[in-house]
Structures are given as structure tokens and as C-alpha cells.
């Protein structure tokens, strides 16, 4: 799918991420969850280490909103 990412989550890990994100959003609360998610996106971008990859992911995430 994405040439800049060569590892994939297993289904079990994907489910674990799903639950952890949902719980973290609830923990942040409706006033702060957007801030939390943007911080998380920046942390992920830093780990990803590629501005181009981040721009590609932004495009993909903007689809079908």
C-alpha cells in the first residue's frame, strides 16, 4: 500500500490500537480530544521520519470524510 512503511500491524495489534485510541480519546474528553489526536499525529510523523510520507497519509485520511 504505502512504500514508505514496510511493516504492518497484525489484526490482533490493530484491534489493540483501536481499543487504546478509543479509550485515550475518552480520557482526553470532547474538549481536548482534537488536540490529543494532533499531538499523536505529530509524534507518529516524527517516528515515520518522512515529510513526504506524512503528506501522503494526510491525503489518504482526507478522503471520504
Amino acid at each position: 500500500m504505502n512504500p514508505t512503511v514496510d511493516t504492518q500491524l497484525s489484526i490482533t495489534d490493530l484491534e489493540a490500537v483501536y481499543d487504546a485510541l478509543a479509550q485515550a480519546i475518552d480520557q482526553a474528553g470532547p474538549e481536548r480530544s482534537e488536540l490529543f489526536l494532533v499531538k499523536l499525529a505529530l509524534l507518529n510523523a516524527q517516528t515515520l521520519g518522512s515529510a513526504q510520507a506524512v503528506r501522503e497519509q494526510i491525503e489518504r485520511a482526507l478522503r471520504d470524510l
Binding site: E15, L21, A22
Partner: protein, 575 residues
């Protein structure tokens, strides 16, 4: 005086038969029976049949005079069919049901995930088969009435229960008054609103979810295959989920979630039902197609279980013991496994072959299964009916991504009911060679069916006994093993020996499976003669050996009848 409804229930496809009530005035009293089964749903009747087939006399008490109202449970799993095969009604279900194996999830008109149920040439039954519950109950009733050890009593309602040290006494109301019935054991199979559970003041533990669903059965002509259809966030029901299943006789189940603030009364108002069903049919490309309502109801998702299914002389099964979210067809399909797990133990206890403590392993195994199902079902439920803002955002993000990013597809797949593996059961023999096998059903697992030839499968050959699959091509089973088999048979333990891999009769074996293609040996990971699997009467593996000897066979059988204290402790830690 109990006055059950005596008019046939209304249905556009099922002809209800009203049976005559059993009246105490026509029979002699007082009575004592080994087992009374309360409730004639699929779980109660499967238990009664299995008990009778194992030689135990039982009375079935049913407060109504006819089978269930509405289609209720409509999807039966392969394991349920294997259990129904054991009690002799699977052929009628196969002949009349609709088998299937694909589930489709749709979002914004696009199919975003297709689930494929595993099905290989060694399976006799499909992953799923759809049949209305009335038919299944009818087949089970026919089999029960035909069995000389089952006394089926329509129109008999239990109104009180008291327990003694070695029996329970039931007060039973009928259309001509009450009578008392003394039972060695009572099987409570009286459903989600169990009267027995209420009388005993027992509380279910767990959670109820917010989401409410309408179930509606309609007759409509749709040119679609038998596959599960799930629609997420449809325009006519924003944020909610709609399910559809084909049933026999041109009936479709439409199952849709209600807006949070709507009452069941509002939801079941005819104009509300009509508008929503019309909208759903239009959405799938059939606007204005004529349809007719058969039956409808409202349910909510719950995940509850009793903490112990053995309460003195009363044994809980099915929905009386637990209420499970129906996403993933976990209701009746869990109940059949309860019935099968209970019946063989109760039969051995009633006959005095095994100690009453054996029944506690029923509770350990099945409460453990219910808790595991509740945990798994929670994940499905969090996707179908998100409980919080966070879970709703995640669900909506997955829906949106799924249109272009296949990696999120598996998150749509709520785990369907599967047979529980009793990996930590106290009945497993820890001194076997389980760890040495590279494949095959492990200790505690249900069996893997194997095709032995045209219309001939391994599970066809099994009955309600312990079964020793002994892999040999020799002319006889070794005398030391035959002596152990004989010793247990003398004690009253039903035990059959099936020799696998021999082309001629084998002395000491009750049946020979030639296994000419080697398929059974391959699927069971057997590489050399002298290997063996010991299956319990519910077909679960309790021991397997690369090379069986008499002492280990004796230990495994002893432990499966009366588990030792040490192993029980291990089981509790594992559960």
C-alpha cells in the same frame, strides 16, 4: 390453575400444532424421576435427548402447548450441527435449512469487507445454516416424543422449587391443577427469563449494552444468495447498523438498530416498521418490492452469566445460565455446547458411575466459555453499538477508511461463535503427549471432522461414549490396553475402541476405520502405530498419546471421571 394459550400462534409460513396438555388427573402420583428438564427450547430438548440416549429417564416440562413464537434463533453453526447430529436431528436440519459461508459488510453503498467462513473437504456441515427455530424445535420434539425414556409434558408450568440433600421438589401447575414432582436433578433450560433462576433468587453478572434492535421477519422475494448482509451507517438510519439474513420459505430477517431515544413500543408501531423496512429494501436496490410481516420483536445486547451453573440439585443451561450478545450467533449455539457438556456428566452421575463432583467441571468449563464469549462479543458490540464517544470516533474512522484502505477490513469481522476449547479443563490428562503433536485437535479441543469416504465422516462414527481412537495396523489391540478398557466397562463407563488404519477387523476394537488415504492420521498428526486419542462423550479430546500404554490410559480415564484435586486447582488458575 395454569391456562396456557390454546390457539395456534399466527405465522405466514409455519403451521403451529397445539398439543394436548399433560394432566396429573390422568396419571398416578406421587412421582420421583431421576431428571426433570424445565423448558422445551432447543437447549432443553437437546439435553433431554442426549440424556435419554445415554439411558437416563427424564421428564420434560413445558408451560406452553406449542413451539416457540417467531423464528428467534435462525443461524446454527457447524459445531451445533455436529451436536445435533449426535442427538439425531441434523439430517432434518440439513434437508430444510439454507447453508452459507459468506458475510458482507457495506458502507455508503460499497462492499467494504467480505468474511469467508472456513470450509474444507473434511467437514460434513457448512460453517452456518439458517433455519427458523420453530422447525428445529419441531424436529427435537418429534425425536423426544419418539424416545421411550422421555416423558414430554406440554402445558406444565413450574411454580415453586425446593431443594433437599439428594433431590429437588417441583410444584407444577397444569390446566387441571397442581402436582408435585420429585427430581434427583433439575435441568433449568427455561430461557432468558428463567423462572427457576428467579425462584432461586440467582443474579446474572455482567453488563447490558445501550443499543436496542428490532428483529423483523418478512416474506419478500429478493434475488440474493444466502449470505449475511451488514449495512453500517445507512442514510435512512444514520450512525446505526442493519443486518439481513435469508431464511427458508422466502423469509428474510431484517435486524436494525434503533435511535437511542426510541422506546420498543414506538419501534414496533406498524407505520414505523413499514417506513424503515421500505427504506432498507429501497437502499439495497429493490424500492417498492411487496413484502409481508410475519413476526417482530425488540432486543438489547446483554453480556451476562451466572457465576456457577451448578446450584445444589439444579443445573443451569443455555439462556437460563447466560445471556450473550447475538452478534456472531452466540445464543443458541452456545447453548447446544452447554447441553452436550452437561448431558454426559449427568448421565454418569445419575447411574452412579461418576461422583457428583464431575458436575462441577461442567460449570467450570461452561462458565469459562461464557466469560470468553462475553469478552469476544464485547469487541463486536463496541463496533456495532459504540458505547462512548471515543469508540464511536474509531468506528466512524474505520468506516471512512475502509472505502479506500483494505487494511481496516478485518475490524468489521465480529468473531462468530466457535466451539470452546477446554484447554485448562480438570478432565484433561496432564501425563499425555499433547505437546509432542504437530497438528490435530489439542487436549480439551473439540474434534476435527475427517472425510473417510463418500458420505462417511469421522463424527458419523461416534456416539455418546468415551471413544478411544487407537491407530494401528495390527490384528489386535494389545491385551494390556484391552484389560483397562474392560475394567472401565465393568464399572459402567461407556467406552468404545475405534481402530484406525487397519484393513481387516481388529480384535479388541468395536469399529475399524481403514483410513485408506491416511487422511485421519494426517489431520490428527499421527506418524506411527500405537498413537491414540481419547475423546470424552462430548467428543472433546481429554488426552492424546504418541504411544499409548495401559497405565496412562487408566490414568486418563480415571481423571476424566473424577478429576484429582491438584488438577482442579490448575483448571481454576487457567480459567
Amino acid at each position: 390453575m395454569h391456562q396456557p394459550h390454546a390457539e395456534p400462534r399466527r405465522s405466514i409460513y409455519y403451521r403451529y400444532q397445539v398439543f394436548q396438555p399433560w394432566l396429573p388427573s390422568a396419571h398416578s402420583a406421587p412421582e420421583q424421576v431421576p431428571v426433570v428438564v424445565v423448558g422445551s427450547g432447543p437447549v432443553g430438548l437437546t439435553t433431554a435427548l442426549a440424556l435419554a440416549q445415554q439411558g437416563v429417564q427424564c421428564v420434560v416440562l413445558e408451560s406452553e402447548l406449542q413451539v416457540s413464537e417467531g423464528s428467534r434463533a435462525i443461524v446454527f453453526t457447524r459445531r451445533s450441527m455436529e451436536i445435533l447430529q449426535q442427538v439425531g436431528v441434523a439430517d432434518r436440519v440439513s434437508a430444510n435449512g439454507l447453508p452459507w459461508r459468506f458475510g458482507n459488510s457495506f458502507y455508503r453503498g460499497q462492499r467494504v469487507f467480505r468474511m469467508e467462513g472456513p470450509h474444507d473437504a473434511d467437514d460434513r456441515f457448512f460453517p452456518m445454516i439458517n433455519l427458523q427455530q420453530q422447525y428445529l424445535e419441531e424436529y427435537l420434539v418429534d425425536a423426544c416424543v419418539a424416545h421411550p425414556l422421555i416423558d414430554f409434558r406440554w402445558g406444565n408450568r413450574v411454580t415453586a422449587l425446593s431443594q433437599g440433600v439428594d433431590h429437588a421438589t417441583l410444584e407444577v401447575d397444569t390446566p387441571d391443577g397442581t402436582y408435585r414432582l420429585q427430581a434427583g436433578w433439575v435441568v433449568a433450560a427455561d430461557g432468558a427469563r428463567s423462572g427457576i433462576r428467579s425462584m432461586m433468587g440467582l443474579k446474572l453478572e455482567g453488563a447490558s449494552y445501550e443499543g436496542r434492535f428490532v428483529i423483523a421477519d418478512i416474506r419478500v422475494d429478493l434475488p440474493l444468495p444466502t449470505e449475511r448482509l451488514a449495512f453500517f451507517d445507512p442514510e435512512w438510519n444514520p450512525g446505526n447498523t442493519v443486518l439481513m439474513h435469508r431464511e427458508p420459505h422466502g423469509i428474510w430477517r431484517v435486524d436494525y438498530q434503533l435511535p437511542a431515544d426510541e422506546t420498543p413500543e414506538q419501534a414496533l408501531a406498524p407505520e414505523s416498521l413499514k417506513a424503515r423496512i421500505d427504506a432498507q429494501l429501497a437502499m439495497i436496490g429493490h424500492p417498492g418490492v411487496p413484502w409481508e410481516m410475519d413476526w417482530c420483536s425488540v432486543y438489547s445486547a446483554r453480556a451476562l452469566t451466572l457465576p456457577d451453573y451448578v446450584q445444589g440439585r439444579v443445573l443451569f443451561t443455555g439462556d437460563a445460565a447466560h445471556m450473550l450478545p447475538i452478534f456472531g450467533v452466540r445464543g443458541a449455539n452456545t447453548g447446544f455446547q452447554d447441553a452436550q457438556a452437561l448431558a454426559w456428566r449427568l448421565a454418569l452421575v445419575v447411574k452412579g458411575v461418576a461422583p457428583e463432583a464431575l458436575l462441577h467441571t461442567y460449570s467450570q468449563e461452561r462458565v469459562g466459555a461464557a466469560r470468553e464469549i462475553i469478552d469476544e462479543a464485547g469487541k463486536s458490540t463496541r463496533f456495532m453499538t459504540p458505547p462512548t464517544r471515543g469508540f464511536r470516533l474509531l468506528r466512524d474512522a474505520v468506516l471512512s477508511l475502509s472505502l479506500t484502505e483494505p487494511f481496516v477490513g478485518p475490524l468489521y469481522h465480529w468473531r462468530t461463535s466457535r466451539p470452546h476449547e477446554y484447554t485448562h479443563s480438570a478432565l484433561n490428562s496432564l501425563g499425555d503427549d499433547n505437546a509432542l503433536f504437530k497438528c490435530g485437535p489439542g487436549r480439551g479441543a473439540p474434534p476435527q471432522n475427517v472425510c473417510l469416504g463418500p458420505d462417511d465422516y469421522l463424527l458419523d462414527r461416534l456416539d455418546h461414549a468415551f471413544q478411544l481412537l487407537y491407530f494401528t495396523d495390527a490384528a489386535e489391540v494389545p491385551s494390556a490396553l484391552r484389560q483397562v478398557v474392560q475394567d472401565f466397562r465393568v464399572r459402567g463407563v461407556p467406552l468404545r475402541v475405534l481402530a484406525v488404519g487397519a484393513s481387516a477387523p481388529v480384535a479388541g476394537a468395536d469399529d475399524v476405520l481403514a483410513d485408506a488415504r491416511g487422511q485421519l492420521r494426517a489431520r490428527y498428526g499421527v506418524t506411527a502405530r500405537g498413537a491414540a486419542y481419547l475423546l470424552r462423550p462430548d467428543q472433546h479430546v481429554c488426552a492424546r498419546w504418541m504411544s499409548l500404554d495401559a497405565e496412562r490410559l487408566r490414568a486418563a480415564l480415571s481423571n476424566a471421571l473424577a478429576p484429582t484435586a491438584g488438577q482442579t486447582t490448575i483448571s481454576n488458575q487457567g480459567a
